[in-house]
Symmetry: C2
Subunit: 185 residues, 2 copies
């Protein structure tokens, strides 16, 4: 693929992620993806012959890798697991408030919409969550209960993001942040 | 409203809740609600003149009251906050697995789909979560940090349900259940 093709592909994925974060799988139409991306209509099926499911699946995988990289990077530079998770919650709160309560977890809406009705996308969401669990587990490896704790920390972060979007408020992220030391210290 | 009218209204709300728990707000069509409920088409706009948003809003409020009642009932009979939350996670895991990974939180999918784009439904979801937070806070009233802890417990339960649906597995609920005592005892 030439540079122009790669740019068009990226624009399509950027538009898809933006729309899906706002309104989910069923709330995102391919016409909107074309309009927001500014890409020619024909390019969508050229780059994503599998249509909507391939487009959304690749967008979720890409968002998953970006967040996975951030997790590993921040895990490496934070002095303790508690400070790592507190920093993560602050970062997510900034991102959410600045986006007008649009940008929470880029996977959660699709995960809930597809869990029971779309096997290929359910698998993509499950894989992304498993990769984040692995990144958290690595940061908690000194703990005997690292496996349980990694899933618990991810559940807390996902739940706090959900409540923050539902209330359109950073308050749930801040309240959860104040309880992190009880769990991790 | 006569008894027959009340029954039709309930059937419409039951069908709506079932469809919305499976595929969310944008994934639920009024034609499906008619088909699943078996109610006459005209009855939908007779009972819900506000259409889809009113129907889904009332379905979410009703599900919220049912779960709120369960929370208060179980809070009253469990010997400690930790046993209360552990019991809740087991109950939710049973319900989720028996439903083929459809029935997690009846509010979460709509909350995420509408947070940024539908003010009336965002308000309904926010009110339901606030009512559950109040029920949890009442059970934790002996703790100085009851406000933060109630939101943290709700975030944990919501996050664990999300991960359980995403992985189609009770495993996240069980792992979180094993960490509850660290947070609450």
């Amino acid at each position: 693929m030439g540079q122009k093709g790669a740019e068009t592909r990226d624009r399509l994925l950027d538009a898809t992620q933006e729309l899906v974060e706002t309104a989910g799988y069923f709330g995102t139409g391919l016409n909107q993806v074309i309009a927001v991306s500014g890409a020619p209509r024909g390019s969508l099926y050229f780059h994503f012959p599998g249509g909507k499911d391939q487009l959304i699946g690749e967008s979720i995988r890409r968002a998953g890798r970006t967040i996975g990289d951030t997790l590993e990077e921040q895990a490496g530079t934070s002095p303790s697991p508690a400070e790592f998770v507190e920093g993560l919650l602050r970062h997510l709160g900034d991102r959410l408030a600045e986006s007008g309560w649009r940008k929470g977890c880029p996977v959660a809406t699709v995960a809930l919409e597809t869990a029971a009705v779309n096997d290929p996308l359910q698998e993509v969401c499950s894989e992304v969550y498993a990769s984040w669990e692995a990144a958290l587990r690595a940061r908690l490896a000194s703990r005997a209960d690292a496996d349980d704790l990694a899933v618990t920390v991810l559940a807390l972060v996902e739940g706090a993001l959900l409540l923050a979007r539902a209330h359109r408020s950073r308050d749930p992220l801040e309240r959860v942040g104040r309880q992190i030391r009880t769990l991790l210290d």
